[in-house]
Amino acid sequence: MTVEVAKHRELGLTDSEFELIVEKLGREPNDVELAMFSLLWSEHCAYKHSRKLLRRLPTEGERVVMGPGENAGAVDIGNGYAIAFKVESHNHPSAVEPFQGAATGVGGILRDVFALGARPIAILDSLRFGELDSVRSRHLLDGAVRGIGHYGNSIGVATVGGEIYFEAPYEHNCLVNAMCVGIAKQDDMVRAAAAGVGNAVVLMGATTGRDGIGGASVLASAELGDGDEAKRPTVQIGDPFEESKVLECCLELLEKGLLVSLQDLGAAGLTSSAGEMASAGGVGIDLDLARVPLREADMEPFEIMVSESQERMLGVVEPANVAEVLAVCEKWQTGSAEIGVVTDSGQVRVLHGEEVVGEMPVEALVDGCPLYDLSPAEPEGWIYGNRATLDPGASSGETLLALLASPSLASKRWAFEQYDSVVGSRTVRRPEAADAAVLQIPEAGNAIAVSIDGNGRRVACDPYAGTIEAVLECAQNLACVGAEPLGLTNCLNFGNPEKPMPAWQLDRSVSGLADACDALGVPVVGGNVSLYNEGPEGPIYPTPVVGMVGELPDARQACGSAFARAGDTIALLGPFSPSLAGSELAKLRGELDTGLPQPDVDAVAGACAAVRDAVRAGRLSSAHDISDGGLACALAESAIASGIGCRVDLQPLRERGCSPEDALFGEGAGGFLLSGDREALESLGATPIGNVGGTTVELAAGDRSFTVGVGTAESAWLSLRQRAEAVA
């Protein structure tokens, strides 16, 4: 008994969870069963610490085609087409082995999208690392960026956007979140639920090997710490060529109507995909492991069941269609094997030839894991530390340059130039051209805009307000290109939920996410939770990453963020009352503390609608949301992107009660920086603050007035390349 207890603990199960399994089975589980339970009852698969909270999120809307519970969410884009999308984390694998961790993160999210029958058309990435002056951070950054490029470029899906932040709390536990967007003919889409007793279960794609064993439980559902090096074998190895073949194969099978349902093999491999398919369909499944094509002949049954070998899909096929399915797989030179059958037993039965090596009720395996309440407790004050890096005597001009050169704000051109952003012939607004990526959808006669956002530092200051800001920033980015939000996906990256402080952050953050989505009327159609993101120094910044998809009728009207014409008026719109709380400048000065102003969500929603309508009507020259680094940085970015300067007086913000520094560098939701004809801007209710023109950024802000050359600002803003590639 003592040996057995040690084993389940080693696999991440608590004693009481083990006792519950024994009770549900009416006996002790054997090794195969214990391995399967430990994975499906892990946080990663069972959401046992987060599922109760996630019930707060609004998931319904007129345009929702598929919601949470499927491989990805999907929204109606018109003319019989749907846009499928989802964001998912691959944090711990990337912290252990960044190239393969990030690459397989991309591979996994692509499979989630094409499992619905959608062709992937875009990838976005949200990355977090420690400060760039750390050798480890540069190693992780370089590996993750190369890994994302390796997979996305090779498979021919455009990487159109993303964000990278550098903050000390991510030093040990970096974050790699990947989002995929796909397009599907609604008639060709399938769900993940297994159906039809007697139907065949077909495993397609790569062979099954010993890689990634225990990924979901050992890596994803525990804190990082000493001995991470030993976890490298739990990281999977990606093969984008295999995925490319299995992708084309699956889309052809769906187009021909040959699949009843389809599911990807991700975390927990065959165990979770077979279990979840059976659970969703209310059926049982028999699997014969002797029929699974293996990389190594001597693999144990439990290894086959929990292997996380990549590039595999599980399909349910009517018996009459099996031969044709296998023939299509053959055409695409990808593997296929009929490995099981759908039953009415309500059991997942694992056979090896004639021998039954495991038999468990689907309900116990998939839905039987206990859900836990959290014990949240608000920390007293700021717990993440402060490190001042800006000379206290810096002038306003020097401060602007320091902000523009700060790695989190600086241009990410170095990274996104390593990604193919044009394959697929859809990309109308490439990275840095506009606040959101814009892709044309000729099938539906319109276009979509996509954005991914989340500022963990601000969420750390106030998890509720900070999470609302992340949603609002996405909505504002979409408004700048004239898009209306259709749906949202999220990845909740937090620390250990069994500890009171991360539990409190998670609880408050989910409430903020729910309230913001309710107020904007944007449904949450899918997402992912990544907990236990902690290193020896403690938890990461709580980091909800929000991905949003919107629709715009005419891609030609999508505004860029660059100024367009000298002589244009510059104006502010929206309920923008900036403060230095939680700002990039507060970070550089080492003055971070808890607390953020509470955003007025309804007022921001109104401003978004006004900007969206004006962009669609072609009445603006440029539109840019005011985000990290405040108005001064937003102005500098629009100037750098166009090569044209500006002259601006911040008096209108001072009249709202802002100090000169708040007006220049303060942050907060709701601000739009617009340029265009003065008349058009005034009719929108925007407040003119200056003009486009010249070769300098000239800002009047009382005693903090200054002028900086556009070229000087650009040099600071483009400094990331050199720093990212620094060797020592």
Binding site: N153, S154, E242, Y419, V422, V423, S425
Partner: protein, 226 residues
């Protein structure tokens, strides 16, 4: 004009190339196992990672049945355009001279850049009506990790003397360290052209530029239809 666009497992840009070709005529995909190019007037070997390109880029694709057919097609004077991976395949197949090495930066690079089209006697670039600007400067995206054109100096000299340099990166815009800023070359007969940048991604004003069409038109004009 009937275009055939090769499709290998691992091709990425074949649909984009098909779309571009269909702006200029009829177009269809040619599966890598097909040997029959009957009815096709011009061939495009598209970009991507044929067969995964885990060996040397293009090293496996050159042995495909479709490439055997393309070699015969080219020998007979048929126009062939290799783009990016297609250029690598044509070099591996010996239809073009030179080799494409790892970018100097060691990184994949995706960037909109300008190319100078270099005339040869057998190639005339079409002149858009009323064009006031130098229509020989083309704005086209490049995106690759192994695109550094290399050949021994003697071969480079010969290529230049024979008018076989088809495209050069505009001054200061060489993204990969290619010898003599060479972005694309043609064979001696002029009917086989390969380049690293992607003209099929420059055929729609909405996605950036329409200059890529000139590259397709030039190739179509260069060959003797079979």
């Amino acid at each position: 004009m009937r275009w055939g666009v090769l499709q290998f497992p691992g091709s990425c840009d074949e649909r984009d190339a098909l779309q571009a070709c269909s702006l200029l005529g009829e177009a269809r995909l040619v599966w890598h196992e097909e040997r029959d190019l009957v009815g096709i007037d011009a061939v495009v070997v598209p970009g991507g990672f044929s067969y995964g390109d885990y060996l040397r880029a293009g090293a496996i694709a050159r042995f495909s049945p479709a490439m055997e057919a393309v070699a015969e097609f080219a020998e007979a004077g048929g126009p062939v355009l290799g783009i990016c991976n297609g250029f690598q395949v044509l070099c591996e197949a010996g239809l073009l001279r030179g080799a494409l090495l790892l970018n100097e930066s060691t990184r994949f690079t995706c960037r909109q850049l300008e190319l100078t089209a270099v005339d040869a006697t057998s190639v005339e670039l079409s002149t858009p009506e009323g064009a006031k600007v130098d229509n020989r400067l083309l704005s086209i995206p490049a995106k690759h990790g192994e695109g550094r054109f290399w050949a021994p100096d003697g071969v480079l000299d010969a290529l230049e003397e024979n008018g076989q340099v088809a495209y050069r990166y505009a001054p200061g815009q060489n993204p990969n360290g290619s010898a003599r800023d060479i972005a694309g070359v043609r064979n001696e007969a002029g009917n086989v052209v390969g380049l690293m940048p992607h003209p099929e991604h420059a055929v729609d004003p909405l996605t950036g530029s329409t200059d890529g069409l000139k590259v397709f038109e030039a190739v179509a004009a260069a060959g003797v239809p079979a």
